[in-house]
Amino acid sequence: MSRGRWAAIGALVAAGAALLAITAGGIGQNLVYYWGPTELHAAGPKAVGASIRLGGLVAPGSIKKGEGASHVEFDVIDRPGGRVHVKCTGVPPQMFREQIGVVVEGTMDKAGYFDGRRLMVSHSNEYRVPGDGEAVDVQKAMRSTQGLDERPKPKEP
């Protein structure tokens, strides 16, 4: 067999091994972009003072605009039923509303709320004409915003 063919096989094996290491190996599980409220609570005191991204859905009816436009409070919920209160400074993005995905950078405060420094909106994969399927199914929105479709369902409480 020519050197080129050996090189082709070698490169394919290397690429396949890299892909396998990332999908099946430990890197996949350790790559965490954000924690949901449930994972945040599970971390307990370790979360206090640590730099954390909190992700989830803005709970319906929980948004409170504080003094001025640059302070906002809301609850973030996730599918397993976790809930975290967030206090955020800074003007929220225009898309920010109830029942939309958010990713907040900040840290857990000793007082039990999440002190957000940077608020990002994570919208779902739905694009609708006004009036077409506007009713938001909270469970569905949580799945599609958080990319949890493929995961095993958490135990029902």
Binding site: R3, A8, L12, P93, S122, V129
Partner: protein
């Protein structure tokens, strides 16, 4: 083949489709419920994403063929596909940033989808740089093909990143999650960029072929000093 008008016909068709799809998308399709007019960048962003991945997949195929068959023709196609793929991927990141600022509130964040896409741009971009540093066309073909096959491991990771890990970027949309009024401009532009990509890759392949011809041609007798004939042209 080398003088065929097909690539120009492809590009002509692409321009027609892109004008048709973009005018439809920008002026006739309704605005999205929450994003309003900002959502219209989807008609450029999503087709760019599909075709960037397609171009890089074609580069992967060319790399395998180039190694397997040891034919310069596959290296020429590889060079073309890599270049078009890298340009599309870089455009993808820029369009994404423009869309992200008004919707997510940030231009960029190191979420799995964005990070793996950046890796894709830099990995394939680096292979183009590598090609510039290798003077011997045969070594260049082998090295860049091996590098392309290895770098291609990132492409499926880019696609599945939003499913495997939680991310700021949303999941892939499907016809069910997108209102019907948005479908056609998206499809027309997707075919527009597809034909543009095909036309550009075939033209760029010709440029590569001409350059290879020049590189591999023996030096002219009156200008070149007497040297051993080029041995690299024939592969062992």
């Amino acid at each position: 083949m080398a003088t065929s008008k097909t690539p120009y016909a492809c590009i002509g068709l692409a321009v027609t489709l892109l004008v048709w799809g973009s005018v439809w998308g920008l002026f006739y399709a309704p605005a999205e419920t929450y994003m309003g007019d900002v959502q219209r960048i989807m008609y450029a962003h999503v087709p760019t994403a599909w075709n960037a991945m397609l171009a890089l997949s074609f580069a992967f195929l060319c790399a395998l063929m180039s190694l397997w068959r040891s034919e310069m023709a596959w290296d020429n196609r590889l060079e073309a596909a890599l270049e078009v793929g890298v340009v599309l991927s870089a455009l993808l990141c820029m369009q994404g940033a423009i869309w992200a600022k008004p919707t997510w509130g940030v231009w960029w964040d190191w979420d799995p989808r964005l990070t793996t896409t950046a890796v894709m741009v830099f990995a394939f971009g680096a292979i183009l740089a590598l090609r510039q540093f290798v003077e011997d066309p045969v070594k260049r073909a082998t090295w860049s093909a091996v590098a392309t096959v290895i770098a291609f491991a990132d492409v499926p990771i880019v696609y599945f990143s939003v499913r495997w890990w939680n991310s700021l970027h949303q999941l892939q949309s499907s016809p069910e999650t997108v209102s019907k009024a948005f479908h056609w401009p998206l499809r027309i532009n997707a075919f527009g960029i597809l034909f543009l990509m095909i036309g550009l890759i075939s033209l760029r392949t010709r440029v590569a072929a001409l350059r290879r011809e020049e590189e591999l041609a023996p030096p002219l007798p009156e200008t070149a000093p007497r040297r051993a004939p080029i041995a690299e042209g024939a592969r062992s």
